[in-house]
Structure formats: structure tokens, C-alpha cells
């Protein structure tokens, strides 16, 4: 492939963001596309904010630079906004619509912004796609497949240099047999949700 592809995956620790980024990396390798995957998280405690860069093609710097993301995939609405500096007006932003409330908010120390405002704001920065990944994953069999729903959504866009089938193949190779069916459904659910847009 020519050029560069810059993907940002964000979310909350424990939602499988890092796993999703690694699967993307493996899929790229299989398709003989140069790739760097890097995770940035502070102290790797659960509940913290996670952000991964996946860069493909003619790249050598491991992290996406500001204003250059082709797509931001977020498993949580405000986490998309937290990393909005990576966007430009052509950036696609796919986010799950379901907030995960940080404990600083649950104990009343800080405030979670009005969710409508978050979406309005995201809309100003890029091309926004909202999906109910929690529902799609639960319909597929379990909430833990939410990261795969997000990968399905990513595959529905024109960002990746390979076909959705290729990504699905890599996903299934990296998952134990008894969970394959569930993850396939999750992937297809995510794919459909974006195709419907």
C-alpha cells in the first residue's frame, strides 16, 4: 500500500482496547502491510483511560501525531473527546454511546458532561458515527465482545487497506473455538451498524 493510515483506539481499561489494537496489527502483518501498534496508558490499573495508536503503511514514528487520525474508535463517548486533538475535519469518529462513569464522578468529586453535548461536540470535530456497542455485543452473546463490535464498525469504513473478511479471519484465529461464533456475530453486528448509516 501507498501512504499512511492512522488509527486511534480509545476507551477505558478492561474494555479490550489493547486487544483490539493488537488484532489490527496482526491483520495488517498478514496482509503484508507495514504496521506499528502502540499503547499509551499510565499506571495500568483497571478503570483508567487507555489510548492506542495503530499506524500502517509508510510510517516510522510509532504514535499518531495531532490532527492526522483517519479514524478514532472509542468504546466510550468522553474518551473519544479526550483524544480529539488527533482529529481533523475529515476524521471519522466511531463511538459507543454508553458512558462509563469514572469513580471521581460516582463519588461526586467531578462531573460527567451532558451526553448530548458530548455528541454535538464530537460532531464539530469530525464525521461522527454513534453505535450502541453494548447492545450489539450483548445480542451477540456477551459484553466482552464489545471491542470486536468496534472492529466490525471500523471494517465497515473505507479506512483499512484490506477487506472486512480479512480482519474477521485474523480475529477468529486469535480466539478460542468456543467463543468464535459469538465474536463473529459481534463483528457482523458492528459492521451492519455502520453500513446502516
Amino acid at each position: 500500500m501507498k501512504g499512511k493510515i492512522n488509527i486511534i483506539l480509545t476507551g477505558v481499561g478492561g474494555q479490550g482496547v489493547i486487544t483490539a489494537a493488537n488484532i489490527l496489527g496482526k491483520a495488517a502483518l498478514k496482509e503484508k502491510v507495514n504496521v506499528f501498534v502502540s499503547e499509551v496508558h499510565g499506571m495500568a490499573q483497571r478503570g483508567g483511560s487507555v489510548n492506542c495508536s495503530v499506524r500502517m503503511g509508510n510510517v516510522s514514528g510509532p504514535l499518531v501525531s495531532s490532527g492526522t487520525a483517519d479514524i478514532i474508535i472509542s468504546t466510550e463517548p468522553i474518551e473519544a473527546l479526550r483524544y480529539i486533538q488527533y482529529s481533523n475535519k475529515n476524521t471519522k469518529i466511531i463511538t459507543d454511546i454508553n458512558p462509563v462513569i469514572p469513580y471521581t464522578v460516582s463519588v461526586g468529586m467531578e462531573k460527567y458532561p451532558e451526553i448530548k453535548e458530548v455528541f454535538n461536540e464530537l460532531n464539530k470535530y469530525g464525521e461522527l458515527y454513534k453505535i450502541d456497542a453494548v447492545k450489539i455485543s450483548k445480542d451477540a452473546g456477551a459484553l466482552i465482545t464489545k471491542n470486536i463490535v468496534m472492529l466490525g464498525a471500523l471494517a465497515a469504513t473505507d479506512v483499512l487497506p484490506f477487506k472486512p473478511e480479512n480482519l474477521l479471519e485474523t480475529i477468529l484465529e486469535n480466539i478460542p473455538t468456543k467463543f468464535k461464533e459469538m465474536n463473529k456475530k459481534a463483528f457482523e453486528g458492528g459492521l451492519k451498524a455502520i453500513k446502516k448509516y
Binding site: V37, S60, G61, S65, V107
Partner: protein
């Protein structure tokens, strides 16, 4: 396992750290030692994973691996093996080399025989560290040859070739990495796996005993070896010049991860430059650098943290009486602080080369986002200990702390962390506070920290009768860095049975007269124990024993035991808020009308909130009282 496959030419995706492990395996590694620490941990954890999986299959791993007691011991174990002719690797985080430095400095005088690679994982920006020291100084300080990889595949190759370099000059080689190398995944091309040597043989040699007369002989030998290493550096495959565009007198000197930013931006900004990429950065190839200076009009030096290459280039330019312009840190274009990235380097390049900065940041959002600071997990036993301590201790109590999950006790509502220097410092600084003040002192350290460096200050407290309470938070693991085993476990890093050492036995052996052993989940008893320890004149040690709940629940699931999550009976709840604002398990949240609820997705079922609720409103879900 992909990492063990002997398929030269095969391409795989590996983490920088895994690539280092692979490089060592390709070189026929015999022994690997470590003390865990982010961002180095996955190097050793990969050795451990391989060894454990082979042990499980009743197969003999081709190497010996251990999680040593601390970094100094790790280096000493591997150094001896190397002196008998085996190939060895020791990895640690940057501050680990401070601990190992006493051994390191004189090991370089003695030298090695089998190749020995010492990996230092530096952490610019302190992503998970207490400082961002630049360990390249250690290579210059002790005179160790140094390699600095830019990509995972280069890390693999430098590790593999590093063993040959080490054997050629008979010196351990420092492989200096940074977080952005350790924690990125990239394409690796596998090379052939060499057979390990297996057993070493020790030849006695008086030159190995560094009494002053020998040390005085060894020092000039070390300088000779480093001269020899410089010759190797001149020809090293890792030092090279890359042309971008039509070079017109501008040169860029860079190393490690910074090279990646330089290369990408030189292309994107259409610069006309020659890039001197240094992979072997100690000793630098003096002649090559001289030629680079002579054939350039201006030089830009791009390196994270300290101006180490920059200062060396200034010395070379000075000796050449060159008038060359050098841009870098002292010119004000680059910072000595924090990790670099494309944004930072692009900004500096646009100023130096007077070209447009290609990176355009969007405007910041006006919406304020709540933070997600790391917190002790729901059900963490450290929280229960802290709750008891706060009940027992007077307000003016000083809490010297240490490094581990329990450092998170710094956050409200606990605020039980007043001073932190390094691993083991809790007890030493506790002794100092006892001498200097009349305040009560309760210090905290984890069990892994206790074995690492917590014992000598306890001996100090006993010998001088310092009036301190030292707490060992014994959760049976090194939790913070990824749950590695330590001397308090009955198994080792290879999955073999090991002699378990009890914290309280060691403390008793040190001569501590007042020892309290508590289960922090019994909060009332724990509170009483701390009160008794505080009342005791002289050093008291509280050993608070309860396994990390993540490990405990993992084991429970394996055994098929059910984990009961807890819920609040809204009819009994009086909204006193003790559970949410004083105990502060992250599973609690406010619902409508200030009702207090427990998130069953997050609850780990420790049951401690049920104990502290004064109205008995909290109980396990689905269990009738």
C-alpha cells in the same frame, strides 16, 4: 509458541520487549535474570511464560530464568554465570540500575566471558516511574558499550549481535531502551536459533578479585577494551548515514526512538539532509562523527532527555576547531524534559529549517472532562488496611510510603502517603522522622518491596530502637508490575516449587520485638493491632496478610467457586455515606436522589463494605441472611 519457532525469515508481530527476548533466544541464551519494573517487565515475563509452559509439559527449558530478589542480585547471578562462559541477559527498569550500580561499576573492571546483555528500560515522561533519569550516563560512567534500538526488529537484532560484541570486548553490553520501544508492536523477521552452551566452567583467576592492587590493574585494561569497542563502533552495522532528498550541508544526528520521528518528518517536510543514525552510542564512532561534522555546515541533534550526544559532538567539533553550528538543547530548540513525539520534533524542525509545520492541531474542546485516575481495585486488601490505619492513628501521623499498588493510598480519602523516594525508602525515612520529630510514624511497603530492599532499614530501626510502626502489605505477589512471584511464594519464575519465605520470620530474625500479624479484611482487629503497635515504644512491624483480590478471584474461578457480589438494601441504608466517601471502593456510585448503589460489574466481592456499614445494609447478592 511463535516466539520459539525456528523459522528464519518468518514475519511475526512482537512487542519491543518480546523482540528482545526473541533476540536472546536466537543467540542461544543460557541464563536470564531480572527484578520486574515497567517498562521492562515483558522481557522477563516472556522468559517466564516460556519456562512455565515447558515445565508444565514436563520439558526442560533451554535456559535458566529467575525473578531475583532485587536488581543487584539479578546482575550478580548473571555476571557469575557469564564469567563461567555462559550467555546471560539481565533486564530492569532504569531505576533498577541504580540498585545494581554497585555491582555494575566494578563488574566492568572484571569483565565478562560469555556474552552478557544488561537491558535498561528508561521511561521518559515518567509514564510509570518515580523519575526520568537518562541511563545512557551509566554507559559513560562505567564504560560499558551501549546499543540503542529504534524499532522492535532492531531490538531483536541488537540483542542477538550484542552477545557477540560483548564476547569480543569481554564487557557486558548495555542495551538502552525507552518506553516507546518497549511498548510498541512491530514487524519482526525471525533469524535462526542458536543452541545454548548449557554448562559453564569456572577458571580461577586472581584478576577477578578486585582488591586495590588488582583494581588499579583492571582500570587501564577497561580503558583499552573501550578503545577496542570504539573501533567496532566505527564499523558497526548499527551506525549509518541515511540521505533524504538532496542533502545540502545539513546533518541530523539521532539515536533510539527519536530516529523514527526524524526519519518520518524529514520525508514529510521534504528536508534535504543527511541523517547520522547512531545505534551503538557508546563509545560513539569518533572518526565517523568527525567526518560527519567536516562534511556538514549545520548539525541538528535529536535525542530525548539529556544532551549526551550533543555534548560529545561539541567536544569533537572543538577538537577539530570546527565552526559548525550545532542545534539541539543548548540552542533552545529541544527540551531536556519528557518523551518526544512527531508533534514536538516537527515544531523544532519548522523553526530550525524554516519550513511549514505539517502538523495542525485542532482547537481544544471547551467541555471539561472528568479524569480517570488509577485507583486501588475494588476489593483490594490494601484499602482495608488503610481504612483500619486511619481509624487507629492520630491526625499528625507521618506516613512514609513506598512503590507498589499501595502507593495509590496517596489519593483521597486515605492520603496515607507523605514521602516517597525509591524502593525500600519507607522504613529508612521512617527512622529519620522518628529521630527528627515527636510525631507518630506508620510506614508502608509491599511484600515484594520488603524482600527487595525493605530489610536493612528494619535492622536499622531495631539496632537504634527507633520508635516507628513499619507495615508490610503482604498480598503474596508483585502486583503493580504484573503479578510476578517473589521470595514469599512457594513457586518460582520457571513454575517450579520454591522455598517460601515468611515476612514475619524474617522480621523476627531481625530482632523486632513487637510484631502484629493481621488479616486486613478483619477491619476491627486490624485497627486494634495498629493501636497496639503505635503504643509500643520502639520499632513495631505490622504484617497485613491478604492476597491481591485479582489473583484470589482468578484462582477461585479456576476452582469453580462462585464470587458473590454485594448489594445495598435501600430500606436499611441511612445514607450516612461512610461506604462511598470514607471507604471509597470504586464500585460505589450515586443513583437518583442520592441513593447509593454498587456496580455489580465492578464489585470483586471482598465483603469489606458490609463490615464497615453501621446499619448492616450491605450484603452479598442472592444470599439470604
Amino acid at each position: 509458541m511463535e516466539i520459539l519457532e525456528d523459522k528464519p525469515g518468518k514475519q511475526v508481530l512482537l512487542l519491543g520487549n518480546e523482540a528482545i527476548t526473541r533476540g536472546a533466544i536466537e543467540a542461544g541464551i543460557d541464563i536470564s535474570t531480572t527484578y520486574p519494573g515497567t517498562p521492562s517487565s515483558e522481557i522477563a515475563d516472556t522468559f517466564s511464560l516460556i519456562a512455565r509452559s515447558l515445565t508444565k509439559q514436563k520439558k526442560e527449558p533451554s535456559f535458566y530464568f529467575e525473578y531475583s530478589t532485587n536488581e543487584k542480585v539479578a546482575l550478580e547471578v548473571a555476571a557469575a554465570a557469564s564469567i563461567t562462559g555462559l550467555r546471560a541477559l539481565t533486564c530492569m527498569k532504569h531505576v533498577g540500575l541504580n540498585v545494581a550500580s554497585d555491582a555494575f561499576m566494578t563488574y566492568l573492571y572484571v569483565g565478562c566471558k560469555g556474552g552478557h546483555i544488561i537491558v535498561s528500560a528508561d521511561d521518559p515522561s515518567c509514564h510509570s516511574s518515580q523519575n526520568e533519569q537518562d541511563n545512557r550516563y551509566f554507559a559513560l560512567f562505567g564504560n560499558a558499550p551501549m546499543l540503542e534500538p529504534s524499532t522492535p526488529d532492531e531490538a531483536r537484532e541488537m540483542t542477538r549481535i550484542g552477545f557477540e560484541l560483548s564476547e569480543e570486548v569481554k564487557l557486558p553490553v548495555l542495551l538502552r531502551t525507552t518506553t516507546r520501544l518497549n511498548h510498541i508492536r512491530g514487524r519482526i523477521e525471525l533469524k535462526k536459533i542458536q543452541k545454548p552452551r548449557g554448562k559453564g566452567h569456572f577458571e580461577k583467576d586472581p584478576m577477578l578479585v578486585t582488591v586495590p592492587a588488582i583494581a588499579r590493574l583492571q582500570h587501564p585494561i577497561l580503558l583499552k577494551k573501550i578503545k577496542q569497542a570504539e573501533k567496532i563502533s566505527e564499523k558497526s552495522q548499527f551506525n549509518k548515514i541515511i540521505n533524504v532528498g538532496k542533502p545540502n550541508g545539513w546533518g541530523i544526528v539521532t539515536s533510539g526512538v527519536s530516529y523514527n520521528y526524524v526519519k518520518e518528518l524529514a520525508d514529510d517536510m521534504k528536508l534535504n539532509v543527511r541523517i547520522l543514525k547512531l545505534g551503538m552510542t557508546h563509545p560513539i564512532p569518533n572518526k565517523m562523527c568527525e567526518d560527519f561534522i567536516k562534511s556538514s555546515k549545520n548539525i541538528v541533534i535529536v535525542e530525548e532527555l539529556e544532551p549526551i550526544l550533543e555534548n560529545q559532538f561539541k567536544v569533537i567539533a572543538h577538537d577539530l576547531k570546527s565552526k559548525i553550528e550545532i542545534y539541539g538543547k543548548s540552542s533552545g530548540h529541544f527540551s531536556r524534559l519528557y518523551e518526544y513525539n512527531l508533534d514536538i520534533v516537527a515544531d523544532a524542525f519548522s523553526k530550525i529549517f524554516k519550513v511549514k509545520n505539517p502538523i495542525i492541531k485542532p482547537k481544544e474542546s471547551k467541555i471539561t472532562l472528568p479524569s480517570r485516575p488509577p485507583a486501588l481495585c475494588p476489593g483490594c486488601p490494601h484499602r482495608a488496611t488503610y481504612y483500619a490505619v486511619k481509624k487507629a492513628a492520630p491526625k499528625t501521623t507521618i506516613y512514609p510510603t513506598d512503590i507498589g499498588c499501595y502507593t495509590l493510598g496517596k489519593a483521597p480519602p486515605y492520603e496515607v502517603a507523605d514521602l516517597l523516594l525509591c524502593m525500600g525508602s519507607n522504613a529508612g525515612t521512617a527512622c529519620g522522622f522518628a529521630v527528627a520529630t515527636d510525631q507518630k510514624i506508620i510506614s508502608f511497603m509491599g511484600d515484594s518491596t520488603f524482600f527487595h530492599s525493605g530489610i536493612p532499614p528494619i535492622i536499622d530501626a531495631v539496632h537504634h530502637d527507633h520508635d516507628v510502626v513499619i507495615t508490610v502489605l503482604d498480598n503474596r505477589t508483585t502486583a503493580m508490575t504484573g503479578h510476578q512471584p517473589h521470595p514469599g511464594n512457594d513457586f518460582d519464575g520457571m513454575g517450579r516449587p520454591a522455598k517460601k519465605i515468611l515476612v514475619e520470620d524474617v522480621v523476627k530474625g531481625c530482632g523486632v520485638k513487637h510484631i502484629e500479624i493481621v488479616d486486613p479484611n478483619k477491619i476491627k482487629e486490624t485497627t486494634e493491632a495498629f493501636k497496639r503497635a503505635l503504643a509500643f515504644k520502639g520499632p513495631a512491624v505490622v504484617v497485613s496478610k491478604s492476597p491481591c483480590i485479582l489473583l484470589e478471584n482468578r484462582d477461585k474461578k479456576k476452582r469453580g467457586e462462585k464470587i458473590y457480589v454485594y448489594e445495598i438494601d435501600q430500606e436499611k441504608c441511612e445514607k450516612c455515606k461512610i461506604c462511598i466517601s470514607r471507604f471509597s471502593c470504586p464500585s460505589f456510585y450515586y443513583g437518583e436522589d442520592e441513593t447509593i448503589l454498587i456496580d455489580s460489574q465492578q464489585c470483586n466481592g471482598c465483603g469489606n463494605c458490609a463490615d464497615i456499614c453501621p446499619f448492616e445494609a450491605i450484603s452479598p447478592k442472592g444470599v439470604k441472611k
